[in-house]
Symmetry: C2
Subunit: 478 residues, 2 copies
């Protein structure tokens, strides 16, 4: 029988062939490989098959490519790296997402993600429950949502906000987005032009800083602490810098855990009206409180349409669904809807329906209670471990993070490098600061790791910190 | 028994109370209502309850609001409208999405949406099938996807592109987005700065024009016709205007249905390299051909990384899942990933897993064959109706649209207004043109309406056109 080699396997043979030649030093470091065309002719195969083999070799760092000149054997020295930047040049590219870069490192002790451990979610119940969505809406996979979001979901949320958040947003003042991240991006896109001023809390959610930078904003930090803001200083800046908006996270602030009082919420709205500065209120942690419920949203104090309310549900209900809601008045809402239509034409309907049926189920409320207890216990574990150090922190009454100040002599940068090597991750405070200062602070999230991981990981982290500390002491005295 | 009124019902009583006073002319047109505070005190209810009632009355156009002065009785004259624009002013707001505005009108004869009729999709099979995703990935609703997209899906797509699209994209050169719309937006965000030049086909996908305008681009149209492009003219523009990229839809172009030949695809890549202009290839209709498969993507001719390939699957597989793929090389891909992370932190994992299992099922391939036939038949129905007119069009060999030129004396603007009144929608050609000319053209989509609706709706449309035509003839001769 004649065995025909499947073309999809051919490239693997070429891959092996090249690798063998490199291993046997038949082809030496930096030596040029035969061109794709020649190789294809020699082996009597399609050029694409050779290209596929070469690209896989490149991916595996066995060969490297030089623009316009072909493929070369990669030297074994791992420090060798070619500037393989091809055109188009993106010379003025101002973007980064530092938080996302840290999250991309896979570690055993995950203290950098302010995310719920999937093991804390009622996964099998959730899975079983959402299946009914397909029965209820048989054509849901074939149907686009409206850009503004599913009306049934907006109606339910309107009612929910009225009953629990103390404000009334009719359905035409609600927009469904793919997570709070998208909401922040849409707001920035609508309101910001290059060189506009934006206020953020200091410290704040680091990806928000990156988003505002992307639109060319000038960012000013407003200190947030246990006593809230210094409203005199804020008023001074509002008067002087005429910011476009103030991005706030006033309830269990990320990363500090601080909550702005009801009184300051009221005063903030008055200042916003007086100086015509929009307040963008990001409120993902509202339901994650350990003792008593936080004050009602800033949005509930707004009567003149100066506040945009962003409500994420990803943090504790269903990270995998990517559903958030935005409340604000027209005409701002109309602009957000247009921007949403250009950004992705609307959040997938299936996600909205799944969220609707899950979030408003009785089980969800029971789950929430349990979740609060579980998160409180995790926080306690981390806090107890911290108690063994001379580090400073304030015990938060909600949220997912501890905001910790290290002794000055510990370099947070060195600590992060050393921790990542030990498979521990955390967020350096400097990336939460628009001024990139706060160099002695770190954010530790206690929501993703389980109690054993928290205990073991924190002990490891502290050992690493001691090593670095004694190193630096040694260098200082040496 | 003492019946306690639920607070959520209270606002309805206040709503009725106000309405009664207005109806009885106790409160007259433009008369000021009691302030929220006073009304709350009088009725001894919460201010929010009154606010809710007032806002609902406003929504229902019974009262209107004036900034800083309160609520007033709305006059019955429907032409009365208050400029209710509150602060913040968005004076320089340059966005619009004309296509999306047309789609928001609900009509009986839907010829404006280039979307598959959900009735053509195997909905019950699809629903049953995707349920297994919850069993396969029990924690899928609690888990974030990586920003770049699920690795299992990217691996499957890499293989699929290699086998069917004739190019090899390793998984690190693939990005999953929430539909092609998001991909276009991310590419524009990464590559465009204000006043950069962008080329688009003329005519083209109108939302793409709106997206590029949003980033301040200068847009130049490149004529597309049965013979493809005029490459001499294109080269002249590439040389003179140094565009950042050329956004193309070379396979069953939206709206014309034209397909660029393999030869021109090759030449286009050579021009792109020569003038360092990125080609953005939007390819949503590839599988919707009526006769023979179209040429391989432009991307398959690219060796130097000048092409970005956007592959939507929404058009015929699962509009409701919002899953598309982008293929391109690094470093461009790294920038797109950062931009995606800032835009929404990654497409929901559940959508990616559902798409993966559905798209690569055997049933899908059978379905595709059926779908081609069904769409061909719908196209034929529309074409047959058109044959009764003196209008001009070219029979497309794939895609979802007919691109039709009307006699000059018919005003497309008037036709659209009159059609919407008769519950018929279509896309006016001018919005597909960066120069907003092409005023005698319309795009008719045959994919969403069924055969009966196509037949009836087209007859109605032609009657409307005749009325307008004779009106204008009358005016011309009168």
């Amino acid at each position: 029988m004649h065995v025909k080699i499947k073309s999809s396997e051919l490239y693997k043979q070429i891959y092996d062939l090249v690798l063998a030649k490199i291993d046997r030093k038949e082809w030496k470091e930096h030596e040029k490989l035969p061109s794709v065309r020649r190789m294809a002719e020699e082996l009597n195969v399609n050029r694409l098959t050779v290209l596929r083999a070469y690209q896989l070799l490149k991916e595996h760092k066995k060969i490297y490519a030089k623009e316009k000149s072909g493929y070369f054997v990669q030297p074994e020295d791992p420090s060798f790296s070619l500037n393989e930047s091809q055109l188009p040049e993106i010379t003025d590219y101002p973007y980064s997402n530092l938080l996302s870069s840290i999250h991309q490192v896979v570690v055993d002790y995950q203290f950098s993600q302010a995310l719920i451990d999937p093991n804390l979610l009622p996964n099998s119940y959730l899975s079983e429950y959402v299946k009914k969505v397909f029965t209820l809406y048989p054509k849901v996979l074939g149907t686009y949502s409206t850009v503004q979001g599913d009306e049934e979901l907006r109606t339910a949320l309107s009612d929910y906000f009225y009953k629990t958040h103390h404000f009334f947003a009719p359905i035409d003042e609600l927009l469904i987005t793919s997570g709070a991240q998208q909401a922040i991006d849409l707001v920035a896109k609508v309101l910001l032009r290059a060189n506009d001023t934006v206020l953020v809390e200091r410290p704040t959610y680091s990806s928000a800083i990156d988003i505002f930078r992307q639109y060319g904003a000038r960012i000013i930090g407003i200190e947030i602490g246990q006593g809230g803001y210094d409203l005199n200083q804020l008023e001074h800046i509002l008067k002087k810098d005429k910011p476009r908006f103030f991005y706030t996270n006033p309830t269990f602030n990320n990363p500090t855990g601080c909550t702005i009082s009801a009184l300051q919420r009221k005063q903030l709205v008055e200042l916003a009206e007086k100086y015509q500065c929009v307040i963008v209120e990001d409120d993902p942690f509202r339901d994650i409180y350990f003792d008593k419920a936080p004050p009602f949203p800033i949005y509930s104090y707004d009567t003149d349409g100066y506040v945009i309310y962003i409500r994420s549900f990803s943090k504790y209900v269903s990270p995998g669904l990517r559903v958030a809601a935005v409340a604000c008045r027209h005409p701002l809402m109309s602009h957000l809807i247009t921007s949403k239509s250009l950004a992705d034409n609307g959040t997938a309907l299936i996600n909205q329906k799944m969220f609707l049926h899950y979030f408003f189920s009785e089980r969800m409320q029971i789950h929430l209670e349990k979740l609060r207890t579980a998160l409180f216990l995790r926080k306690e574990v981390m806090r107890n471990e911290l108690a063994a150090t001379s580090w400073k922190w304030t015990d938060p009454s909600g949220g997912l993070n501890l905001w910790v100040e290290l002794p000055e002599q510990i370099s947070v940068e060195k600590l992060l490098d050393a921790c990542l090597e030990q498979s521990i991750s955390f967020v350096p405070g400097s990336i939460c600061d628009p001024d990139q200062a706060l160099r002695s602070w770190i954010r530790l999230s206690f929501s993703y790791a389980n109690e054993i991981q928290l205990q073991t990981g924190m002990k490891k982290l502290m050992t690493v910190a001691e090593t670095i500390n004694s190193d630096s002491t040694y260098h200082q005295s040496g």
